[in-house]
C-alpha cells in the first residue's frame, strides 16, 4: 500500500467500513517495514491447512502459493510458472483443486486447504502416492505434488459424476467410466516436463480401479 496516497491510510470511515466489510477485518496496519516505501497493511484470517488451524496476520497480497511455501514452510507445493499454466502449485481447497499461484491467501479465510504434506497418514502413504511410486509416475518429481493433489481431486470429481470435455455426452447424467482419455483430459492442467505421463495415467488408473473393487 502506498503511504503517499491517502487511500492506504484508510480514513476513519474507510477503516470502519472495511472492517465490517471484511468479516475478519482488513485494517490499515501501521508501517512496519522501514525499507519499503509503502507499508503493507495486514489482514487477519484463519486458514486450516492439512487439518491444522493457522491464525494469520497476512499481507493481503500474498498468493496462497507463497503463503504455503514462504510463511508456513510447506515447500512440497511447487512454483512452476506462477501463471496458472503448469499445475505444479495445485492444492485442494475445500476438496477442490485450484492453482494456488492464481489466488490471494486472504481470499481463503475459513477455507480448508490440503497440500501434498497433508495426504499421508503418518508413515502410511496416500494410495495415490504409493501408486505413483509403484508405476514410476515421476522422474525429477517437481510436478509430482501437483499431479498427486490433482489426481486426488480427479477421483472425487469422478465419484460426484462431474463431466469433462471427453465425456461422450455432457448433458448425460449417467455414471462415468474412467477411460484413459478421461484421465488424460482431467489431468491436462498438470504438465510434466520429464514426460512421465504414461506412469501417471497408470498410477491413477490403478487407484481408481482399486476403489471400484
Amino acid at each position: 500500500m502506498n503511504t503517499s496516497n491517502d487511500a492506504r491510510g484508510f480514513r476513519p470511515n474507510r477503516r470502519e467500513f472495511v472492517e465490517t466489510a471484511v468479516a475478519g477485518a482488513v485494517a490499515g496496519a501501521l508501517p512496519s517495514d522501514a525499507q519499503s516505501p509503502a507499508a503493507p497493511a495486514s489482514t487477519e484470517c484463519t486458514l486450516r491447512v492439512n487439518g491444522e488451524t493457522h491464525r494469520l496476520d497476512l499481507d493481503p497480497r500474498v498468493s496462497l502459493l507463497d503463503l504455503l511455501r514462504e510463511h508456513l514452510q510447506l515447500t512440497g507445493t511447487k512454483k512452476g510458472c506462477d501463471h496458472g499454466q503448469c499445475g505444479a502449485c495445485t492444492v485442494l481447497v475445500n476438496g477442490r483443486r485450484i492453482n494456488s499461484c492464481l489466488t490471494f491467501a486472504v481470499m481463503h479465510d475459513g477455507d480448508e486447504i490440503t497440500t501434498i504434506e497433508g495426504l499421508a497418514r503418518g508413515a502410511e502413504l496416500h494410495p495415490l502416492q504409493a501408486a505413483f511410486i509403484e508405476h514410476d509416475g515421476l522422474q525429477c518429481g517437481y510436478c509430482t505434488p501437483g499431479q498427486i493433489c490433482s489426481a486426488v481431486a480427479l477421483l472425487s470429481e469422478l465419484k460426484a459424476g462431474a463431466p469433462s470435455f471427453v465425456t461422450p455426452n455432457i448433458a448425460d447424467l449417467k455414471p462415468l467410466e474412467l477411460t484413459e482419455d478421461e484421465i488424460r483430459e482431467r489431468m491436462s492442467g498438470n504438465i510434466c516436463r520429464c514426460g512421465a505421463y504414461v506412469g501417471i495415467v497408470a498410477a491413477i488408473r490403478s487407484v481408481a480401479e482399486g476403489q471400484k473393487a
Binding site: 500500500m1 502506498n2 487511500a7 492506504r8 467500513f17 472495511v18 465490517t20 466489510a21 471484511v22 468479516a23 475478519g24 482488513v26 519499503s36 516505501p37 509503502a38 507499508a39 503493507p40 497493511a41 489482514t43 499481507d59 493481503p60 497480497r61 500474498v62 498468493s63 506462477d82 501463471h83 496458472g84 499454466q85 499445475g87 495445485t90 481447497v93 477442490r96 483443486r97 485450484i98 492453482n99 499461484c101 492464481l102 489466488t103 490471494f104 486472504v106 481470499m107 479465510d109 490433482s150 481431486a153 480427479l154 470429481e157 460426484a160 462431474a162 463431466p163 469433462s164 470435455f165 465425456t167 455432457i170 448433458a171 447424467l173 483430459e185 482431467r186 491436462s188 492442467g189 498438470n190
Partner: protein
C-alpha cells in the same frame, strides 16, 4: 518480473453493497483471479486497488424462473458444467466451460470474469451470443440490463462504467427443439486459447431453416454474431449450394487478424469450414 506488491491493495468484500461502495471509490473487482493474477504475477496489472467479490453470495448462485436462467457473475465454470438445467437446456455453455483452461482453472474462473476480461477469443462469448444472453449491471445508482450482443463496443471496450459490477447473466429459456453445434479450434483443447471458437443453433421447420444463430470468437475485435450469414440461411433448405453460399458469406463477414496464435487466412478458412460442418449436421 512480478509486480511490486506494496503498490497494491486488496480487500475481500462480504456484501454486494460493500463491493459497490468500493467500486464507486475507484476499486476494481477481482473474482476468480485467473486473468488478473496472471497480469499481477507478470507485473502488468494496471489496477492498484482490488476488491474480491468471491464471497458475495448474490453473485454466486444460479437461479431459475419460468422464462430464464440467471447465472450470477461469480459462478464458476465447474458450477456451470455440473448444473442439471444448464446441461439440459444450454449444453453449449457447459461444453465451453468444460474446455476453458484446466479443471483447476474451472474451479476458480468465473463467467463474469470471462465476459469483462473481454478477450475476443473468450470461449463463452459465442455461446452467450447464440443464446441471446442479457447482462444485468449493478451500481449504487441501480441496475440496468443490456443485451449481450450490444455489450462489446470495440477491442476491450464495453458498455460498463467503472462503478458498475456485472451482477448476472440471463439466458432466455427458448432453446427447445433447437439443434446446436460448438467447436473450439486451438493447438490443444485444454489450457490453450482458441484460434477460432464457434457456436451455432438452428431450428428447422420441415427441411427449411426456420431460426438460426451463428457466432464466432477470435475472428474480429469483438465476439461476432454473424447476422449477414444468418440471413443467407434463414428460410432456406440445406443443399450443397446453400452450404457453399453460406461459407462464402461467413468468410466475408469475419475480420480476423494475424497474431501469435494464428493467421488471418487460417482463421477465415476454419470459420467457413466450421459453418459447413454445422450445416451438414442439419441436413
Amino acid at each position: 518480473m512480478r509486480s511490486f506488491v506494496p503498490d497494491y491493495e486488496l480487500v475481500v468484500a462480504a456484501r454486494l453493497n460493500d463491493a459497490l461502495d468500493m467500486l464507486a471509490e475507484g476499486w476494481r473487482p477481482i473474482a476468480g483471479g485467473t486473468d488478473l493474477m496472471v497480469l499481477f504475477n507478470a507485473g502488468k496489472l494496471p489496477y492498484r486497488k482490488l476488491v474480491s467479490i468471491r464471497r458475495v453470495k448474490e453473485l454466486s448462485s444460479i437461479e431459475e424462473s419460468e422464462t430464464e436462467i440467471s447465472i450470477g457473475a461469480a459462478v464458476t465454470y465447474t458450477h456451470i458444467r455440473q448444473h442439471p438445467v444448464l446441461r439440459q437446456e444450454f449444453p453449449l455453455l457447459c461444453s465451453a466451460a468444460s474446455w476453458t483452461g484446466s479443471i483447476a482453472n474451472q474451479n476458480r474462473g468465473t463467467l463474469g470474469g470471462n465476459i469483462i476480461n473481454a478477450s475476443p477469443a473468450a470461449d463463452s462469448s459465442p455461446v452467450l451470443l447464440v443464446y441471446d444472453a442479457e447482462l444485468e449491471l449493478i451500481s449504487l445508482r441501480g441496475t440496468r440490463r443490456i443485451p449481450y450482443c450490444d455489450f462489446h463496443l470495440g477491442y476491450k471496450k464495453m458498455q460498463i462504467r467503472d462503478d458498475e459490477l456485472l451482477r448476472s447473466i440471463h439466458l432466455p429459456r427458448k432453446t427447445e427443439n433447437r439443434r446446436s453445434y460448438i467447436r473450439k479450434v486451438g493447438p490443444r483443447q485444454a489450457q490453450a486459447i482458441s484460434k477460432v471458437c464457434f457456436a451455432a443453433t438452428a431450428r428447422l421447420r420441415g427441411s427449411a431453416i426456420d431460426e438460426v444463430r451463428i457466432a464466432a470468437g477470435s475472428v474480429a475485435p469483438v465476439p461476432l454474431r454473424c447476422h449477414a450469414t444468418e440471413s443467407v440461411l434463414r428460410g432456406q433448405s440445406i443443399s450443397p449450394d446453400l452450404i457453399e453460399t453460406a461459407a462464402n458469406a461467413i468468410a466475408a463477414e469475419v475480420q480476423p487478424i494475424t497474431d501469435i496464435r494464428s493467421t488471418r487466412d487460417y482463421r477465415r478458412a476454419v470459420t467457413a469450414n466450421l459453418l459447413k460442418q454445422f450445416l451438414q449436421t442439419l441436413a
